[in-house]
Symmetry: C2
Subunit: 327 residues, 2 copies
């Protein structure tokens, strides 16, 4: 009796899918967390790079993870950043529903541009599409945060939220979860990923548990300015507010060339920028593509000189988040 009721509800969930399909492909974008002065609360979605993921509906209560390109992802769902969120999701669904997820991992784990968040967000957005948008976006963030816990030990949402909502998001509060979309101006983003490893958990551990009140005051003046700048499209205010007196002075030590990159990119016209997430990637905001490309050249020159392998991206703010590309 109980099982039958479960099956009926399951059927309803599937039936209401806008596509009616049983599999879907999604593009799950990279994100920049923190945005310099918004440690743990601000994040921004990028148009490049993206993970490509296929999600298939199963009629068994299980999660199957497949690495499409041989990338050594953990295949135990509970240990996989795409799997753990789906385990949480199916536990809130009646009956026998499961998902198979095939991941083409394009965003390198450990790069600091939200690789784990992309897998987690892509999985739940794709799965929810197959369920006919059974869950709200806020539910999806709640599920996807279990992927971040797998990746870094902490259920943070500053990559997850922009990846699901698009644009720039503020996590005003985690308990209770309060996500505030912040209107974002049309800006260009240049990213450099120097190929060194900075583990999010290490980058957290080097932070002090206490900060000076006077530094905290400076930081909340800056985040208030940054949010006002974003909403009002005030590029000068955005530039002045991109200052971090608490996290950056500690974490930037882990990133070779950081100070030089920041200084010379601003000299090349960038509004400002800093560490993306917990690093090692560095992002810079620019008002136009020409400046963003000049900034990229500066980054390349510096890491060529240092002799460190790197990737660069010139992209824009992704206003919509995870994208359904076919089914």
């Amino acid at each position: 009796m109980h099982e039958q009721q479960g099956e009926i509800e399951t059927h309803d969930a599937k039936k209401s899918s806008p596509a009616g399909g049983t599999s879907v492909q999604v593009l799950a974008p990279a994100t920049v967390a923190n945005l310099v002065c918004g440690f743990d609360v601000l994040g921004m979605c990028l148009n490049e790079p993206n993970d490509l993921m296929e999600i298939k509906l199963l009629d068994e209560k299980k999660i199957v993870i497949i690495s499409a390109d041989g990338y050594p992802l953990p295949l135990d769902p509970a240990q996989n950043t795409a799997g753990a969120p789906l385990v949480e999701m199916i536990n809130e669904l009646p009956g026998n529903i499961g998902f198979e997820v095939t991941i083409h991992k394009k965003i390198k784990p450990g790069s600091g541009i939200g690789s784990s968040a992309a897998s987690a967000a892509g999985a739940v957005v794709g799965a929810n599409y197959l369920l006919g948008d059974f869950f709200s976006k806020q539910d999806l963030v709640r599920f996807a945060m279990f992927g971040e816990k797998v990746a870094s030990g902490v259920k943070h949402a500053d990559n997850i939220a922009p990846c699901i909502y698009g644009g720039i998001t503020l996590i005003r509060s985690i308990h209770p979860l309060d996500i505030v979309p912040i209107p974002a101006p049309e800006l260009f983003v240049t990213i450099v990923h120097p190929q060194i490893e900075v583990r999010t958990s290490d980058a957290r551990q080097i932070l002090r548990k206490e900060v000076l009140l006077k530094d905290a005051i400076r930081q909340w003046g800056n985040i208030a300015g940054l949010v006002a700048g974003f909403i009002q499209n005030d590029l000068s205010l955005i530039g002045r507010s991109l200052e971090d007196v608490i996290i950056e002075p500690v974490r930037s030590i882990l990133i070779p060339g950081f100070d030089e990159v920041k200084l010379k990119c601003k000299a090349a016209g960038a509004l400002g920028g800093g560490i993306s997430g917990s690093g090692p990637s560095i992002f810079m905001l620019s008002k136009d593509e020409q400046t963003a490309t000049a900034v990229e050249s500066v980054m390349k020159e510096i890491y060529n000189k240092i002799g460190l392998a790197y990737h660069t991206y010139v992209t824009t703010i992704n206003q919509t988040g995870v994208k359904i590309i076919n089914n």
Copy 2:
């Protein structure tokens, strides 16, 4: 030669006065600093109460302070909150220019609604009017901060800036001074001033010099939400963001009835509120006059019960700051 040049420049400054007069009356409004989660950086200007001030141009390099209503103000300009800013101002003017300031002190010193800032801001705005707007608003804030130093030992601008600019202001940075006007929605403000003394300098001393990083993160999430709420006229977001996990838990101990006022005013419909500046006044924001008046009744009831004398005000956000009323 040098003196003559000074006189010529002085004359130019006077000549360009829009009024051409030599005296002016101003209304210098009360202000609410901090706005709960914006300690030291946010402030809001009120339409009531106001100090009434008369400023007269003198042809001698001196400042004269007159207390119109017998209120025991320090009459040494360097020790007076209206005098010290004018001393700074005339030191940046050539030649023999001075001011006589008559103060009708309506905003009680020590009330926590910017009494010292009103005197300082009123004096410099009035004086600058007589000089034909010789100085910029930012200059006026810089001068007026010397009044705050006299009053509390610290050159803070979170009352001064809204008093001069009107509306809601963000002090993104003190060094260098960066004042960001924040568009403010049409809200009603209820204030209760319980008649106990809380000195700003005492209220500062009880604060810890260090704060937990996790509390600072919660605070900067809230200030970002509050600023987004103000700009976007999102009353629910404003209400959710009016939370202070750092200053209020410490300072509210100095204010009898604080927790009850906050709880019951919100139950009566207030969006939220908290300590005004360093207290003892408490402010509450409401979406309409009816709610603001209901909130006032709650405040009265509580302080009647406690048996503490008090004043209340129901007012609105003053969008223009210090007002020139005649000359």
